[in-house]
Symmetry: C2
Subunit: 257 residues, 2 copies
DNA sequence: TACTACATTTCGCCC
DNA sequence: GGGCGAAGTGTAGTA
């Protein structure tokens, strides 16, 4: 039998519990005690199954790691890959039970209905840790930053470009930036934070086609990205669309012409 | 001081190590000892930063969970969400060091160059677990399964439909299924495993346009999916494209007309 | 709730 | 290694 360690915290709920080689009943108790407040780490030999939008099974009994978060996040991790092998995204609900001495975890998601079931005949470790959440989290260098830079200074795309609207809604989707050039032509600007592929060109083409049809006159389309694949570039030129290179940096300036 | 527990395994590398409230040096040793073979779990109060394709920082010191896998996967998890707050995908390399008694983790990815740095002034727990990898993993209900079902029985899309090719390569992308209808018209079939949006319609439109131009005659386009958004449907009809509902199930049959 | 598009997407396949 | 597109995508924003 392993170590059972409920850390004493003066009657308060501890931030950390760690059970090594616990009895299934011990594990079950700790999981139920902490599942709504702590992140649970469960290590052991397990099999698992998933059914919902799709379906899959992990039939081979082998050591895996289950991570459960209080918001309902449920993941079954293996030795490689960033993505869990099986999972349920939040919000989901975790149910724990014991059948014939075997611990079973059931994560249930309601919409869409998805169920992950994990049977753990051998429980090697159960941990419960209290984690924080960063507020006011910010990532720099997103597409949105690029759009902002252009809206604040349209000349980095083209001289005398006027911005008419940002996030311009159309029936075929949202246009990043709608502008007007020095000759009075409408200009659709589609921004990508990394290399543009055929899909990006197609997206721009869709907006331009729609708008030129609706307006009854030709509309320019400019794809702004740090780079573009050769296939995508041919495709773009074929439809008379334009490409403008954007410096790929966190300061998000545009390169000189 | 906490529990230090290197599990004795008769001289062999154990599958599980668990250190509660370890000294930084203890933690460092265990991490270096196991980082290339085990999945590491590191819990404590930490700050972190990321710089690479984008940039962000977790400046507030708070309890978080680091998970490191032997393939280089590196994740900083918080109390909610499925996705880690900060991460490096495999393959990356983990470096551990101590500066002024503070444990520092550095995960470095080479291409593209990305670095995640984690400073852990308070180490509450370090665990090392050996996990498996499922081989021959299979998910049922993918787009590929839907394409297969149609290729095996084209009549579920339309009577007397003949399949000419699957994954038909064109300059503008790969067509899921190319067929010919009872009247001899070419038919482009685009499959989606879940609700189709404007992007899916756009994709089909791109293929149909390309092919009809190349062949010099009209080409039909059919979007096969479990459902379609109302906007996307209007868009689809506007361009004379067709929609065929596919039953959203793991057996992947198509619903009757 | 539905819909849309981004993402440090990740991942797998094919060239 | 680059290009391309799917994914049980997850996630945020908006109507």
């Amino acid at each position: 039998m392993g170590i059972t360690r409920f850390i004493d915290n003066g009657g308060q709920t501890p931030d950390l519990d760690a059970l090594v080689d616990p009895a299934p009943m011990e594990a079950l108790k700790l999981i139920n005690l902490r599942k709504s407040t702590h992140v649970l780490l469960i290590y052991g030999d397990m099999v698992a199954s998933y059914e919902g939008r799709a379906k899959s099974q992990l039939e081979d009994l082998m050591p895996r790691l289950v991570i459960s978060k209080p918001d309902g996040t449920f993941m079954v991790h293996e030795s490689n890959k960033e993505k869990p092998r099986l999972w349920n995204p939040p919000p989901s609900t975790l149910y724990v039970s014991m059948n014939l001495g075997i611990l079973t975890l059931r994560s249930v998601r309601v919409n869409p209905r998805e169920v992950v079931i994990v049977d753990i005949p051998v429980i090697r470790f159960v941990g419960a840790v209290r984690l924080g959440v960063t507020s006011n989290y910010r990532v720099f260098g997103t597409e949105d930053d690029l759009v902002n830079a252009i809206v604040n200074n349209p000349s980095i795309v083209e001289d005398d470009l006027q911005v008419i609207a940002r996030e311009y809604h159309t029936i075929v989707g949202d246009i990043d930036i709608l502008g007007r050039d020095s000759r009075g032509n409408l200009v659709v600007i589609e921004c990508k934070r990394n290399q543009a592929g055929p899909e990006a060109v197609n997206q721009l083409k869709r907006y331009v086609e729609h708008l030129s049809q609706k307006e009854g006159r030709s509309v320019r389309g400019i794809l702004v990205a740090p780079s573009i694949s050769s296939t995508a570039y041919r495709y773009l030129r074929q439809y008379g669309l334009e490409f403008r290179r954007a410096q790929r940096s966190n300061s998000l300036g545009l390169s000189p012409p």
